[in-house]
């Protein structure tokens, strides 16, 4: 507990560090183990693998049923990303800049899908839209996912736009630039890193979402998450380890890109 006081670390400090190291191991081990055992060659998942191979990856990527699921997940996630990021962008910019007294209420309203338990949102969406043709429809699932991704986008963008000085735009306008020119040359470029970051997390949230996709899946539109779920509830197959490792890789990619964006933004500002 003396980390800030400049003295020699005491026994208490070492104890704290030891405990924290154990907790961090608890957090990271399952994720790492999934990735490692996905390279196991045999039918039984063992740690460490007896023999390393890409067998289950080949099975995953070559199977038409898994391919279809990847394609459905990609379509759903892309539609979700475009819709949620676009809507969230305008909403977040207005929220940070407006002086409306109701802005806190609107902000809270836009975050409600985050507060309502996913199972409730999913069955409410399902009960309303299943009969209207949303069942088994990529667009139906994507609209549901957009509602879940919108709060994430709004949180990320409002946080970023607090740093976005409106005076740059006023300067452009006062120098004779048109509104459209100011938008495309000042506002959008300044907001771009935050927009990309928000889009990445919207994509990831849709890719991972299970419940809405599960209720609406039907036979035609099973996302990857729904297929994993079906496998876990019926019969666990070793392919799932490879699919899981694929999800972990996607998460690492999104976090790495986000960190890179944050790093570049910081460097440009300083």
């Amino acid at each position: 507990m003396t980390m800030e006081t400049g003295q020699q670390p005491s026994a208490g400090t070492w104890l704290l560090r030891g405990i924290v190291a154990l907790i961090l191991m608890f957090l990271m081990t399952p994720v790492l183990i999934i990735v490692i055992i996905s390279f196991e060659n045999s039918l039984q998942l063992r740690f460490p693998p007896q023999e390393y191979s890409f067998r289950w990856y080949v099975r995953f990527l070559a199977d038409p049923a898994w391919q279809r699921a990847i394609w459905v997940s990609l379509q759903v996630a892309l539609i979700t990303t475009v819709l949620a990021t676009t809507l969230g962008f305008f909403a977040a910019l207005a929220l940070v800049r407006t002086r409306m007294r109701t802005k806190l209420v609107i902000y809270g309203f836009l975050l409600t899908p985050l507060i309502v338990p996913a199972i409730i949102s999913a069955i409410a969406f399902y009960m309303t839209f299943a009969k209207l043709g949303a069942s088994g429809s990529v667009l139906g699932i994507a609209l549901g996912h957009t509602m879940m991704a919108l709060p994430l986008v709004v949180i990320i963008l409002t946080a970023a736009f607090r740093n976005l000085d409106e005076r740059y735009e006023w300067a452009a306008l006062s120098l004779g630039a048109g509104h459209w020119y100011t938008w495309s040359r000042i506002t959008i470029p300044l907001a771009a890193p935050a927009l990309i970051s928000a889009a990445l997390f919207a994509f990831l949230s849709s890719f991972d979402e299970l419940l809405i996709a599960l209720f609406l899946s039907g036979i035609r539109a099973q996302t990857l998450s729904v297929r994993i779920w079906n496998s876990l509830t019926l019969q666990i197959e070793p392919t799932i380890a490879a699919v899981s490792a694929f999800f972990v890789a996607l998460t690492v990619l999104v976090l790495a890109l986000d960190a890179l964006l944050a790093y570049r933004t910081r460097r440009r500002q300083s």
Binding site: I33, A94, T112, V116, Y126, D165
Partner: protein, 284 residues
């Protein structure tokens, strides 16, 4: 504000409303209206509150409520116990170390809940990796950890600890380190400085983190469904069964409405404690 402002207050207001409208409208159509429809469906023609009456008069359903609350409370307590030391170290560590620690927290946090649950099934199952490792020394776990309440607690705690750590860390970063230094300067021991100065100052963060984890735990579905035994039915699982298996939508809607009300009450407390309103103030 300067004279170069491009539009009058009225025009700006109109532009801002126009920018907010699409998001708000879409949320109404695809989220609020379905929710209201669900709540309406929970009331039965004739005896309006029949569904609610049968929820609260049946031991079976009350048992599900109690189990859900108990699991959520235990998960919250363990998450706090595990999360506090990590957040404390994060708040006091040098930037480089903090960055490494955050990777350990954030990577699991953003990894699919289902994938992380699967990892625990592989780890603690009867033929799982932990028993495989123990078997090398001729040992095995003396009791099953999977497909019972222990499994649910392990899985849910694992998934919710990062929420606790990040909430606590955000709050602890706001604690002025000069207070603790002042306590040292006045001769306090590290333990006394922590217990009498830092710990009380961190309590609002503790309240916010605990409420958040508790709220999330109440509505958990994936982990208890995959890691629990036949008797470990949480509220979210019961709702899913009523929709998918029993197909009693009206009753499912009543259960969901009850869960919704409990969640909203807990969230109202959370919003006050965490002072969410501050997040919108422009910096400049």
């Amino acid at each position: 504000m300067g004279r170069e402002r491009p539009a009058t207050d009225d025009a700006r207001r109109r532009i801002h409303l126009l920018m907010l409208a699409p998001a708000v409208l879409l949320l109404c159509v695809f989220f609020v209206i379905p929710l209201l429809g669900m709540i309406r469906r929970s009331f039965v023609d004739g005896n309006v509150f029949a569904n609610y009456a049968s929820i609260f008069s049946s031991d079976v359903y009350l048992h599900v409520f109690l189990l859900t609350f108990r699991i959520s409370a235990i998960v919250t307590a363990i998450s706090l116990l595990l999360g506090y030391p990590v957040a404390y170290l994060l708040a006091h560590a040098k930037a480089g170390i903090a960055r490494v620690v955050l990777i350990f927290v954030v990577l699991p946090y953003f990894t699919s809940v289902m994938v992380r649950t699967f990892a625990w099934i592989v780890l603690i199952g009867r033929e799982g990796i932990i028993n495989q490792q123990l078997a090398i020394y001729g040992l095995r776990l003396p009791f099953d950890l999977l497909y019972n309440e222990a499994g649910v607690l392990i899985g849910m705690t694992y998934i919710l600890v990062p929420f606790m750590i990040l909430t606590l860390y955000a709050s602890m970063r706001g604690i002025d380190p000069t207070f603790t230094r002042a306590a040292y300067g006045l001769g306090a021991s590290p333990a006394a400085a922590f217990l009498r100065v830092f710990l009380p100052l961190s309590l609002p963060g503790v309240a916010a983190g605990s409420l958040l984890v508790f709220i999330l735990a109440l509505g958990f579905f994936i982990t208890p469904a995959l890691m629990g035994g036949p008797a470990d039915i949480t509220l979210a699982m019961l709702i899913e069964r009523e929709v998918e298996i029993t197909m009693n939508w009206s009753f499912a809607a009543a259960l969901a409405t009850t869960l919704l009300i409990v969640t909203l009450i807990a969230f109202a407390v959370y919003a006050r404690v965490a002072r969410l309103g501050r997040l919108l103030e422009p910096l400049s």
